[in-house]
């Protein structure tokens, strides 16, 4: 009897505890959605001008829990708005129409969630122009959260992306777009990957716990501002990867960002391009030109605050693509706030420290070739290799408000003759470079394996088999028509660089 009473008492206390706990902390679904913690400026008038995306001229299609987003996209016409209500959606959404807006509706902190359950590869793939994707939680995909495939005039805004495999937000080969107010974590390559793009603004995003936070790669006219990049392996990167069809990366402004404690162990696939980024990298500039770095707060990055390098020092095989110019030229380092960087640098940096009799690693380090670079007031920082840097003529980048264009650009040409090339640029080269290992095997290897066998590629990419344990799984490209796959296979086999 006594024992029974005791048990009853324990149960009662437990129940009261749960009740109080719920009262105090609220139900699980009431936990407020995260907002970017560091910057909270609201949209300025004039935001997104000239993109065209998000301009709704057609009907509104509502998608409720239990129904399919893809079905709604199927029904939509250009100019329509698709509103997605809270619920869990297990699917891959393909958007091949122009001017489609995909908008999540967040109700009392409950997000519409796309969950790939670690089975599906991509959450959203768009090839249309003028596509808007906003307010979605995306998680547990194996390849990409949101990938653009040669779509122009895009807006990717206020999405919450957790562990979606290789890339989080990836507007490949897109012109005139904005990526803003997204939060991304747990991405094993680049959280935000601006690949082969022109005219893009990346701002107010928070990226943490990724291998690469924000990556501007083989892109031109990019403005990266007001982002919070912390606890990645590398925070913000701008570089030129050899072997991609676009052979330049220039005119990038990186300003007003907070780049903090990017000391996470590199968990990229061994041998992939990003696997070579040393942990503790605040910013990395490699073989990119005309980069301006202004008014960032860069602190607590254990390898170096800002690293500026050429291919040689970075160990990139330049011989594989002579057309990619290997040096970082005309780097402009304006005023930045830097402190407490370089507490635990890699061996190569340590070797340089020895020659400088420094016990601490650098705020800024420049190695390898390059010309025309400058720095304002270098005495503020601990720097290595800036001896040849001149005093900058420029003092600020105030004149640049945005790199978006005044009006939407025309869609890319998709005539049949161009189909193979467009698909290669917009889809394949996201993971395959010609002569180096980006994510998947290099194209020259694929050429050796499929010599005179375009059909072999056509069949494989529709239904790939995972053959390489140390590479991510190739996602099926069966959403491309056989004709398109054939065109891209032949284009791929004809490449020489």
């Amino acid at each position: 009897m006594k024992i029974a009473k005791r048990i009853l008492l324990v149960v009662a206390i437990f129940a009261i505890g749960i009740y109080c706990g719920k009262l105090f902390f609220g139900r699980g679904s009431d936990i407020p959605a995260p907002v970017p913690t560091y910057f909270s400026q609201s949209a300025q008038p004039g935001d997104s001008v000239g993109i065209g995306a998000g301009t709704v001229t057609g009907k509104i299609i509502d998608v409720k829990n239990g129904s399919s987003i893809q079905e709604a996209v199927g029904k939509a016409s250009p100019g329509d708005l698709i509103r997605i209500y809270p619920g869990v959606y297990h699917e891959t959404v393909y958007i091949d129409k122009d001017n489609i807006s995909l908008q999540g509706v967040i109700v009392n902190g409950e997000w519409p969630t796309l969950d790939g359950e670690k089975k599906q590869n991509d959450a959203i793939l768009y090839s249309g122009n003028g596509v808007l994707v906003e307010n979605l939680k995306i998680t547990n995909y194996k390849g990409n959260g949101i990938m653009g495939q040669a779509g122009n005039n895009y807006v990717i805004r206020n999405n919450w992306i957790v562990d979606t495999g290789v890339y989080g937000i990836f507007p490949q080969f897109g012109k005139n777009g904005v990526v803003e107010r997204n939060i991304l974590s747990g991405i094993e390559d680049a959280a935000i990957y601006i690949g082969m793009c022109d005219n893009v603004d990346v701002r107010f995003n928070e990226v943490y716990g990724n291998v690469a936070g924000i990556e501007i790669e083989n892109s031109r006219h990019a403005l990266v501002e007001y982002n919070y990049a912390h606890d990645n392996t590398g925070g913000i990167l701008a570089f030129l990867t050899p072997g991609l069809p676009i052979k330049t990366c220039y005119d990038v402004i990186i300003r007003n960002n907070y780049v903090y404690n990017n000391n996470t162990k590199n968990f990229g696939a061994v041998g992939s391009t990003v696997s070579h980024i040393p942990k503790g990298t605040g910013m990395l500039i490699m073989a990119a030109d005309d980069i301006t770095i202004e008014n960032n707060i860069v602190t607590g990055n254990d390898n170096a605050g800002i690293t500026i390098t050429d291919y040689g020092y970075a160990g990139v095989d330049h011989a594989s693509d002579p057309e990619s110019e290997p040096n970082s030229d005309r780097i402009t380092l304006l005023d930045n706030f830097m402190s407490n960087n370089g507490a635990d640098p890699v061996a190569d940096v340590k070797a340089i420290m020895m020659t400088k009799l420094s016990k601490l690693g650098p705020d800024i380090i420049a190695v390898g070739g390059g010309q025309g670079s400058c720095v304002v007031n270098p005495g503020r920082y601990r720097t290595f290799g800036l001896d040849a840097y001149a005093n900058c003529q420029a003092r600020d980048t105030r004149s640049v408000k945005t790199y978006l264009l005044d009006k939407p650009v025309a869609p890319r040409v998709t005539a049949t003759i161009e189909k193979g090339k467009m698909t290669y640029y917009g889809v394949c080269s996201g993971c395959h470079a010609y002569s180096t290992r980006l994510v998947g095997p290099p194209v020259n290897t694929i050429q050796a394996l499929y010599k005179n066998n375009a059909q072999g590629i056509v069949d494989f990419i529709a239904n790939p088999v995972h053959k390489r344990d140390d590479y991510p799984e190739m996602p099926p490209q069966n959403y491309l028509t056989e004709e398109t796959r054939k065109a891209v296979a032949e284009y791929m086999l004809s490449l020489t660089k």
Binding site: V316, S320, Q447, K451, K467
Partner: protein, 229 residues
């Protein structure tokens, strides 16, 4: 009665099917190579006596005789190459001196079953450790390996059967070097039936110069040699 009628037809059909499949195997040496019959290591041991002269009693190889170590090589790959030698698609050119010798030796094995016996015996031998002679820049070699070799030969040069790519880290550096040269000089991978060898031909041209070859081989030799399952 009817049952027996069907049964006899069934047997006939089986016989015909058997013949026709044998026929197609003869037509296509690669197909024959693809299937590895189960070998008997005891029989293989007797047959291996011929191989000892060059490859050594522990299949440890002998550089002076240009005979590579075999003990560390996967059985599916040994089988395929022995069949290639036998079928005249590897080592068929007199200019390929060592390969030409090997082709003659491989032909002393009566049939594919005899080949599989030998392979089964070699698989009973313990792994051998090999000296590294070629010097190179390991860091550069690793990058080169990752961008040129690794997508088929696998992480740590362990080989990948799904890609039909053999393990490399169990072979001597001089042997790797000689084979790269043979692929380069159309002494290997040049026969139209050598589908997988042909894939190596464009790949070796990507190794820019002798330094690149040395670097990548030094890297391959530096990778650990994991025990086989």
């Amino acid at each position: 009665m009817a049952g027996r009628f069907w049964f006899s037809h069934f047997v006939l059909a089986l016989v015909f099917w058997g013949c026709s499949s044998k026929e197609s195997k003869k037509d296509n040496p690669q197909q024959d190579v693809a299937q590895l019959p189960v070998g008997d290591p005891q029989v293989g041991k007797t047959l291996y006596a011929t191989c000892i002269t060059c490859h050594g009693d522990a299949a440890q190889g002998n550089e002076k005789l240009k005979a590579p170590a075999l003990a560390n090589t996967d059985n599916w790959y040994l089988y395929r190459q022995l069949m290639n030698f036998r079928n005249g698609i590897r080592g068929y050119q007199p200019a390929d001196t060592s390969g030409y010798q090997m082709a003659a030796m491989a032909k002393t094995l009566k049939d594919s079953l005899a080949v599989s016996h030998v392979v089964a015996y070699i698989k009973t031998l313990p792994q051998v450790e090999l000296p590294s002679i070629v010097k190179g820049d390991l860091k550069k070699g690793e990058r080169t390996y990752q961008s040129i070799c690794g997508s088929c030969h696998g992480p740590g040069a362990r080989g990948n059967e799904k890609m039909n790519a053999p393990r490399l880290n169990g072979l001597e550096d001089w042997y790797l070097k000689s084979q790269i040269a043979k692929f380069r000089n159309a002494l290997r991978g040049a026969h139209p039936a050598d589908k997988f060898g042909a894939q190596m031909v464009p790949m070796v041209t990507l190794l820019a110069d002798e330094q690149a070859v040395n670097d990548v081989i030094a890297y391959i030799r530096s990778t650990t040699q994991p025990a086989k399952e």
